[in-house]
């Protein structure tokens, strides 16, 4: 283990992953650009809505430069992004960076707290489930996790609102946060969406942890450890868990990505000003620069988390660390 961090193969692998990630990001930018071009519907029409006159639509099209060829707009866009300029929103004419940054920050804030609760909890529950495998505790944990995963997100959200906000009035049902809100108040505001998100992602991580560790538990060295007379918990935590880390990190990263990228429904229900809602608003209005910017950020988050997962897998697997 110790030598691994000095060895250049690992560094090389990690560097490769990062380079690949950057390359991917470029590929994604092309795809996103192309995708937004073939979205049905006309930007100008969508901005002005159902009651727009044809003249107003034509005027806006001209003004927005929608009549330029697509590849020109792509290069202009990428050039801008590389210099930190995401462009202006078509609908509001505001700098995207200005309106997007607070939303991104909010999304990360919510995702952070959801992850901070759900990751340790799911791993601990997974470990417990393995320790008492096939016993009533294991079954109870599995059953609860499965039931919660099976419910649509909005259903969980509404149930939380019904019981914790309307009936008991412990927490506010709407989680509007804003700049300059006291930290504790902010935390209180996001309690319900955090609970909802934890419930949504918990089971997946918990079950993968359990399955991954059980898989390792069948190896010969675990049997050796057992024969040495180590306690069950010791074996699980010290021998099985570290060797099961790769699939666990993988599934954790998938869920982290979900917490950043996929929480639109939760945002709508709890009225949380995050990126998902921001994206949907702009998709509906065909505000292409914003959709592209958000898509690119989501892709970057996703690719970044994947690099972390891959690197973790490399570090955790001695054989991958020393490829023959």
């Amino acid at each position: 283990m110790k030598g691994a961090f000095r060895g250049s193969p690992v560094l090389k692998l990690v560097a490769q992953r990062i380079a690949l990630g950057i390359f991917l990001l470029f590929a994604v930018s092309v795809l996103i650009f192309a995708g937004t071009q073939i979205l049905p519907g006309d930007v100008a029409q969508s901005i002005l809505g159902q009651s727009a006159t044809p003249e107003a639509v034509a005027n806006l099209r001209q003004e927005l430069g929608l009549n330029d060829p697509a590849y020109m707009r792509y290069f202009q866009w990428v050039g801008g992004v590389l210099t930190g300029d995401l462009g202006k929103a078509l609908t509001t004419r505001q700098e995207i960076t200005v309106t997007l940054m607070p939303r991104l920050w909010n999304t990360l804030f919510l995702a952070f707290w959801a992850a901070a609760v759900s990751i340790p909890l799911s791993i601990i529950l997974g470990l417990i489930a393995v320790r008492f495998r096939n016993g009533p505790v294991d079954k109870a944990i599995s059953g609860f996790a499965l039931a919660s995963t099976s419910l649509p997100e909005f259903f969980i959200g509404y149930l939380l609102i019904l019981f914790l906000a309307v009936k008991l009035q412990w927490f506010p049902s709407i989680s509007t946060v804003y700049d300059g809100m006291p930290f504790l108040e902010k935390l209180k505001a996001i309690v319900l969406p955090v609970i909802a998100l934890v419930i949504v992602v918990l089971a997946h991580m918990m079950r993968m942890t359990r399955a991954a560790i059980l898989n390792v538990m069948q190896s010969a060295y675990i049997e050796t450890a057992e024969l040495k007379g180590l306690s069950a918990l010791d074996i699980i935590c010290k021998h099985a868990f570290p060797n099961a880390i790769a699939p666990i990190v993988n599934v954790v990263m998938l869920n982290m990505a979900y917490l950043v990228v996929g929480v639109v429904v939760i945002e709508v229900i709890f009225v949380y000003p995050g990126m998902g809602q921001y994206l949907v608003d702009h998709v509906v209005k065909r505000d292409v620069p914003v959709v592209q910017a958000v898509g690119l950020i989501f892709a970057a988050v996703y690719i970044g988390l994947n690099i972390v997962a891959d690197v973790a897998a490399i570090l955790a697997n001695p054989r991958l660390r020393h490829p023959k």
Partner: protein, 274 residues
Amino acid sequence: MFNIRQIPLAAWIGLLLTGLAVICALFAQWIAPHGNGEIVGDVWAPMSSAHWLGTDNLGRDLLSRMIYGARITIFIAGMATALSFSLGAILGFTAAVVGGLVDTLMSGVVDLLMAIPTLIFGLVILAVLPANNVTLILVMGILSSTRVYRLSRAVAADINAMDFVEAAKLRGEGLSWIIFREILPNAMSLLVAELGLRFIFSVLFLSALSYLGLGVQPPDADWGGMVMENKDGIVFGIPAALIPAAAIAGLGISVNLVVDWVLTRTTSFKGGRD
């Protein structure tokens, strides 16, 4: 090889409920007391002897809707899950075993697909392609196969580094032997554990698509879509909103109970303990 007496209670429950749902799905038009789109009563009528589960947001018999819904839900989610697993697992294993450029390319494409938010992806694809159930299954299957691919590849990469795979390679076994005889049996337990969850995710994904107006065409509805249709009633405890949700949870749990049971069986096939 299946000894009925050895099936534990939990698995029995799972088999029973899953079986019930499948029977409903297969014989919907004979079991359901009313037509799928038929208006039979008042909106959100409570449970009664005429309508055992009450009526839905348009006054249609909820029991009949549930039975027809079982068909749509199980068919689309099941097909999508099957597609995603065959596609994802085979490609993932291949990538891990072959490695090199193939691995890099395939992983790149998969990362590319995954890196684009599902919402944008779904919107674009489903807006361009004709809206029917085949399209739905393809889109859902391919999108979720990327997740299966990641997992399969990670698992297979671990197994691929094991001595017995090295041995098989030295023996000169072909690619399909290594994938199906060496990797697949050893990756089975993780994949099966994922299978049950993927099925639930497919059901949920279907309901999310219904939410965006891209799902099943009315008057047909999947269970998730039915929760959606009746969602305004949730905070008032209207059963029409709760029953389909409970059905999804019930189906999810029972499928996974069966999966768990299969999981313990496959591990014992491999000579593991318990």
